[in-house]
């Protein structure tokens, strides 16, 4: 395990905050196992992607400023989401191209920001987790994590150390599930077609559980699988890695079954 202790600011992400706090606690647990002291700045709400991707520069920039200020002074900033981490890492600096001082602060934040699982493996050198999950699972690579941050091998590596777990690769794992933030609201029919294909691919693997690193994609995939009455559970990968599958029911399942 890693040598240097460090101070991590947890960027909870708005979806985890609202829908599934368990993912936040799973992240805290894993980060602490990796030798980090975790703090959760109060002044965080959302990374601003809904505004940024809707062309609303003013609100997007204001939210970026808010995040940059709230997370100054940490050794690292970690988010249980490739999409939100990607926003901080890749897009914040671009937003302040005309403001040298803010640009520097944005870059400083960008350099210290990581998606949770890649942070554990690539930065903290985590090689195994102390977890058990008797299940056949499959894994969906969320787009931003995969293509903006190169999150691909890290979750598979740690899942490989979960006792009792069998990973069955998902054909088309790199194809978007159709969530796309505001996209699923603006173009629900296309979004549904995409998640329908994703659900069919998931079911075809024979897995009992689908995992991913982004709650947006998971809400979408779980929502479709539930509507179709498929016996496939959906969970954030951090819940499995943190050995919390017995503490919380799968996404969209009634609490008592957990």
């Amino acid at each position: 395990m890693p040598s240097e202790p460090c101070r991590v600011g947890l960027f909870v992400t708005c979806l985890v905050d609202l829908f599934r706090p368990s993912v936040g606690f799973a992240a805290v647990k894993l980060l602490e196992q990796a030798g980090c002291t975790v703090e959760v700045p109060r002044a965080q709400t959302c990374c601003g992607q809904p505004a940024y991707n809707s062309g609303d520069k003013a609100d997007a920039t204001a939210l970026a400023r808010q995040v940059i200020e709230a997370f100054e002074g940490f050794d690292y900033v970690v988010a249980p989401s490739g999409s939100c981490a990607g926003q901080l890492r890749t897009h914040y600096p671009l937003m302040f191209a005309d403001e040298p001082q803010m640009f520097q602060r944005a870059q400083h934040l960008a350099k210290r920001t990581h998606e949770l699982v890649s942070f554990l493996v690539d930065v903290r050198g985590m090689e195994r987790v102390d977890a058990r999950c008797e299940a056949i699972v499959t894994y969906h690579d969320s787009c931003s994590g995969l293509r903006e941050l190169g999150v691909k091998a890290q979750p598979r590596r740690l899942l490989g150390t979960v006792a009792g777990l069998t990973l069955k690769e998902l054909p088309g794992a790199e194809i978007c599930c159709g969530f796309g933030g505001t996209f699923c609201i603006k173009y629900p029919e296309i979004s549904d077609k995409m998640v329908g294909e994703k659900a069919a691919d998931i079911v075809a693997t024979g897995a009992e559980t689908v995992l991913a690193g982004d709650l947006g994609c998971l809400l979408n995939m779980a929502g479709k699988l539930l509507r179709q009455g498929r016996p496939v559970a959906a969970r954030h990968v951090a819940e499995v890695l943190a050995n919390m599958t017995n503490d919380v029911a799968p996404i969209g399942a009634p609490a008592e079954s957990g």
Partner: protein, 482 residues
């Protein structure tokens, strides 16, 4: 072609319930993606080539005036003629004038997206000249009177039974009871019909994959050889090209060609790569009597120096279409104009206006696959976002959507208020959804809940639970002190 991009949502709905289209799209997806991946894997320097190609095009675009004038000079030296056309109307009139002067009755056409862009076929027909598409896919859709649905596979939205029907309806001189079941038979039939057309044509029109400044040449790549027959057998060869097709040298062309077929079809090289330089010379045994290049601007020069300049690097390989989950869900016609898929979502608003085409740059999840496979490394999602910014500034996006976004942003920018509001909302939704763990209907989320359940929140926000935890720790700490 009359755009229907404004009706994108209606087009999408129709495409999604069209079972035949969905069948054709399902077949397309696996082929292109797998072949490209294999071709790229076989070429270790593929990434380096992408950088080189991007550099070539960027350099050319920075000095576009110089290279275009060099191109024109070299075309003229070799006996050809360049026609500068600002608008589709100017381009159409120029083509017509050449055809009229040569007394042309029929015109054969190789595949050209610029002809689609300027709606040349309808115009020629209205002027009493018969255009004949010679690319197999283009020929099929011409028989069906519909536009292409893909920039390199224009009939990819069709299944072979539809092609057989089109052939039976059009090739009426042939035995109506003949068998038309496999692709080979249909190809042979098209070939024999088209052979006569090639021989009878007066003028041949092709597009251009590249214009080479140093030699004054135009380059086309095809897999059918139809472009060669189109351009060598006629009194005149007219090349339709938009001005960003120019590259400085033959060497540059060769570099980009190494990317083109691999990205498009997964071939190492297209079957035919034809470089045309000027009309037939006295000592040549064949070739066109005249060589004309129509250089179309149609809004492209206005993209120079803007955030959309990078789009002019596009070489029309269609890798972005082939890897786009939205394109593969709805097909090309839904986009409502000439250029579908991610490249169209950026280019179309530039060419026909964001008022008409505003849906296109919005209909993307920003999954980023298009950019990751683009041989020219065009940041397509970034440019779609630029269009969204322009739409937002001009208040073109739907009002309820803007209001919703504004309301959300009002809270998101005020963390204390946001925490209070979300804690309450999460509590309410958590209690309402406790029993089933999910909602089958939700107000304001009908688009989602029509076809999907909405998982219920756990019931408390992370922030409020974390605050409780800190308080408990604090209390424990005080207890220990006591």
């Amino acid at each position: 072609m009359q755009p229907t991009s404004h009706a994108f949502k209606t087009n999408v709905h129709e495409a999604l319930i069209d079972a035949t289209l969905q069948k054709a799209l399902g077949m397309m997806k696996t082929g292109f993606q797998g072949k490209r991946a294999q071709a790229v894997a076989r070429l270790p320097e593929f990434e380096a080539l992408r950088d080189a190609a991007k550099g070539i095009k960027n350099h050319t675009l920075e000095h576009l005036d110089f290279y275009l004038e060099t191109f024109e000079r070299n075309v003229t030296t070799r006996g050809g003629q360049v026609h500068w056309c600002r608008t589709p109307a100017e381009a159409r009139e120029t083509v017509l004038a050449i055809c009229r002067r040569l007394g042309a009755k029929t015109v054969t056409k190789g595949k050209t997206m610029i002809a689609e862009e300027i709606a040349l076929n309808d115009f020629l027909e209205a002027s009493g000249i018969a255009p004949i598409e010679t690319d197999l896919g283009e020929y099929i859709i011409q028989l069906r009177h519909e536009p292409p649905s893909h920039i390199i596979a224009p009939a990819v939205h069709l299944v072979k039974e539809q092609v057989a029907d089109a052939f039976r309806a059009s090739h009426t001189a042939l035995d109506p009871k003949r068998k038309l079941e496999d692709a080979r038979t249909m190809c042979d039939e098209a070939r024999s019909v088209l052979r006569q057309k090639f021989l009878a044509a007066d003028v041949g029109i092709t597009g251009a994959n590249f214009l080479i400044a140093e030699t004054g040449s135009s380059v086309i790549v095809t897999n059918e050889g139809n472009g060669d027959l189109t351009q060598t057998l006629t009194k005149a060869h007219i090349v339709l090209a938009s001005l960003e097709k120019v590259v400085p040298t033959l060497e540059d062309t060769a570099t980009i060609l190494r990317l083109l077929a691999r990205s498009a079809t997964g071939q190492e090289f297209s079957t035919y790569t034809t470089i045309s330089t000027g009309p037939r010379r006295a000592e040549d045994t064949d070739g066109p009597g005249e060589y004309h290049v129509i250089l179309l601007d149609n809004g492209r020069s206005a993209m120079l120096g803007t955030e959309f300049q990078d789009m002019l690097r596009c070489i029309r390989c269609a890798a972005c279409l082939n890897h786009c989950p939205v394109y593969s869900a709805v097909g090309g016609h839904a986009y409502g104009w000439v250029y579908p898929g991610p490249m169209g979502s950026v280019l179309t608003p530039s060419l026909i206006g964001v008022e008409e085409a505003g849906n296109l740059p919005n209909a993307s999840t920003f999954c980023g696959r298009c950019e990751s496979v683009c041989p020219m490394k065009i940041p397509l999602p970034k440019m779609m976002r630029h269009w969204r910014e322009r739409e937002f500034e001009r208040k073109l996006s739907p009002r309820p959507y803007r209001w919703g976004l504004g309301l959300w942003a009002f809270f998101a920018r005020r963390p204390v208020l946001y925490r209070a509001a979300t804690a309450l909302a999460t509590r309410v939704l958590g209690i309402a959804g406790q029993r089933h763990g999910r909602f089958r209907t939700l107000p304001l989320a009908a688009g989602w809940t029509q076809t999907r359940d909405m998982p219920a929140p756990e019931g408390r926000t992370f922030q409020s639970l974390w605050a409780d935890k800190l308080k408990k720790n604090q209390a424990r700490h005080e207890d220990t002190k006591r």
